[in-house]
Amino acid sequence: MIDVEDVVVRYGTAIALDRVSLTVAAGEMVALIGANGAGKSTLLNALSRVVPTASGSMRIRGCFAHVPEGRQLFSDLSVDDNLRLGAFRATDRDTSWIYELMPELDGVRKRRADSLSGGQQQMVAIGRGLMARPDVIAIDEMSLGLAPKVVQSLARQLSRLNEERGLGVLLVEQSARLALSLCSKAYVLETGRLVAEGPSRELVNSHFVVSAYLGSPLEETA
C-alpha cells in the first residue's frame, strides 16, 4: 500500500531524510520510532505531499489518511463538523460508524473541538482520518500528552480496525514501547537515517533498540 524508496527530503541545505525506504503492506501495522527531530513527521508530510522530496520515489496504492502531530483539529468547529470534514474527498459523509467505534464521542457531537479532553481530541483526530475511508492511516505521536489508560483504549480500537477491516496503520511514535507492542514490523529513524528495521519481536530484543529507546526489557502493557 505504501512503498517508499530512497527518499531524500531537504530543508534548505539541511538533509531531513537521507535515503529512507519503508513499506506498509495491505493490512499491516507498522511502527516508525525515533527521537524528537529524527524526521518521522517529515516522512509523513512527504507522503501527504505537504513537503516536496528531493529524490527517491513514493508510491501509495489506495487512500491514505494522515493524522498529524498535535491533532490539528478545526478547533472552533464541532466534533461532528470535524468528522464530516474528514470525508471531504470521500462520497459518504455519514458519521454514525465513527460514533459506534468510539462511543465516548457520541455525547459530545456538537461541542467545540477545543473544549474536549486530550484523549477525546485524539479520538476526533483519528475519526476524522477514518472518515476518508483510508486503506492506510498514519498517526503521528498518538500517545503524546495522554494518560496510559486512554492510550490503551486508542490502541485497542486501532487493533480492532486492523483486524476487522484490514486497515493498514503506520504508527509514528517516540514511545517505542507502545509502537512495538502494537505493530508487527518496525523501523527506527535517527537524524534522518534508518538505523534499524525488522519484525517487532526481533527489535524488542536487540541491544541497540533496548538501550536507546526502551530503557529496560519490554514488559507486557496490556
Binding site: D76, L77, F88
Partner: protein
C-alpha cells in the same frame, strides 16, 4: 419626526452598508488571512455597473443582481492575483490588493469617467404615526438582514460553509483532509466581492459613487470589521450599525467632515489597545 430620530434612521441604514462591506472583509480575511484593501472597490464597481444596466433598460432587481455578479467575478479575479501564486505571504497579498484596487480606478474611469453616478432607489416615505422613514433606508435594512441571515445559514448549515470555516480555522489540517485551500480562498474572495457588491447596490441611491468613493467605504467597513474583532461576520452587523449611528450623530450635531475621522480613530484605538494588551500578556507569561 425629531432630528435625533432622523439621524438615527440614517445612521442605521448607512451602518448596514458598512456591515455588508465589513462582512466581506471578514470572510476574505478569515479564509485567506489577507486584508483586502480593495473591498470598497467591489461596492463602487457594483454601483456603477447597476447604473449602467439600468440605463441600458434592464429592470430594477435584474440590474442589481447583474451588478452583484460582476463584483463577485471581480472578487475571483482579485483573489487569483492576490493568492493565486504559491508562496505569496499575507503581507504581500495586502499590497497586491492595493495594486488591484488602483487598477480598478483605471478601469472605472475608463468605462464610466471620473464623475459621480447614481440611480434612483425606492422613493417615498413610509409613515408610521409621526415617523417618516425613507423607503430606500428600509430596503437597505431589509436586504442587510436577509443577507446576514443567509450568511449564518451558509456557515452553520452547509458543507461548503463548513469547508470555508475549516480553512479559516486550520489551513494545514484542511490541506491534509484534501481541501484545496487556495480554491477555497477564491470562493472566499468571490463571496467577499458579492457582499461588497450588495453594499454598493443599496448605497448608491443614497450617495452617488465614483471611482474614488471606495476609500471612505473601505475605511468604514474595516473599522466595523475591527469592532467585530475580524471574527464572525454577524458581529459586523452590530459594529457597522453602531459605527453608522455614531457617525450620523457626529455629522448631525457636530461637523460632518469629522465623521470618517471618528471611525478611523475608533478603529485605530481598538487595534492599539488590543495590541498593547496582547504584548503585556506575553510579558506576563514570561
Amino acid at each position: 419626526m425629531s432630528a435625533f430620530l432622523s439621524y438615527l434612521v440614517h445612521g442605521i441604514a448607512v451602518g448596514c452598508g458598512f456591515a455588508l462591506i465589513a462582512s466581506g472583509l471578514i470572510i476574505i480575511y478569515r479564509v485567506t488571512r489577507v486584508v483586502n484593501l480593495a473591498q470598497g472597490m467591489f461596492a463602487v464597481l457594483a454601483g456603477l455597473t447597476a447604473s449602467s444596466m439600468l440605463d441600458l433598460g434592464l429592470p430594477h432587481g435584474l440590474a442589481e443582481i447583474a451588478a452583484t455578479i460582476a463584483s463577485a467575478a471581480a472578487g475571483v479575479i482579485l483573489g487569483l492575483v492576490a493568492i493565486g501564486k504559491r508562496g505569496t505571504s499575507p503581507e504581500a497579498s495586502l499590497i497586491v490588493t492595493l495594486g488591484v484596487g488602483i487598477f480598478g480606478y483605471a478601469l472605472e474611469i475608463l468605462i464610466w469617467g471620473d464623475q459621480p453616478r447614481s440611480f434612483a432607489g425606492l422613493s417615498g416615505l413610509l409613515k408610521i404615526s409621526d415617523l417618516e422613514l425613507p423607503k430606500q433606508y428600509l430596503l437597505i435594512i431589509a436586504v442587510t438582514l436577509l443577507v446576514f441571515g443567509a450568511l449564518e445559514v451558509f456557515f452553520e448549515r452547509t458543507y461548503l460553509g463548513k469547508t470555508l470555516s475549516a480553512c479559516a480555522s486550520n489551513p494545514g489540517a484542511a490541506r491534509l483532509v484534501g481541501i484545496n485551500v487556495t480554491r477555497m480562498g477564491l470562493v472566499g474572495f468571490a463571496l467577499g466581492g458579492a457582499l461588497g457588491g450588495v453594499a454598493g447596490v443599496v448605497l448608491t441611491p443614497l450617495t452617488p459613487v465614483s471611482y474614488d468613493s471606495d476609500m471612505p467605504l473601505f475605511v468604514n467597513g474595516f473599522a466595523a470589521a475591527i469592532l467585530a474583532g475580524l471574527r464572525r461576520p454577524i458581529l459586523a452587523l452590530a459594529g457597522g450599525i453602531g459605527l453608522g449611528v455614531a457617525e450620523a450623530m457626529v455629522a448631525g450635531y457636530a461637523k460632518p467632515s469629522y465623521q470618517s475621522s471618528l471611525a478611523l480613530l475608533l478603529a485605530i484605538t481598538i487595534l492599539v489597545v488590543q495590541s498593547a494588551r496582547r504584548s503585556s500578556l506575553h510579558v506576563a507569561e514570561q
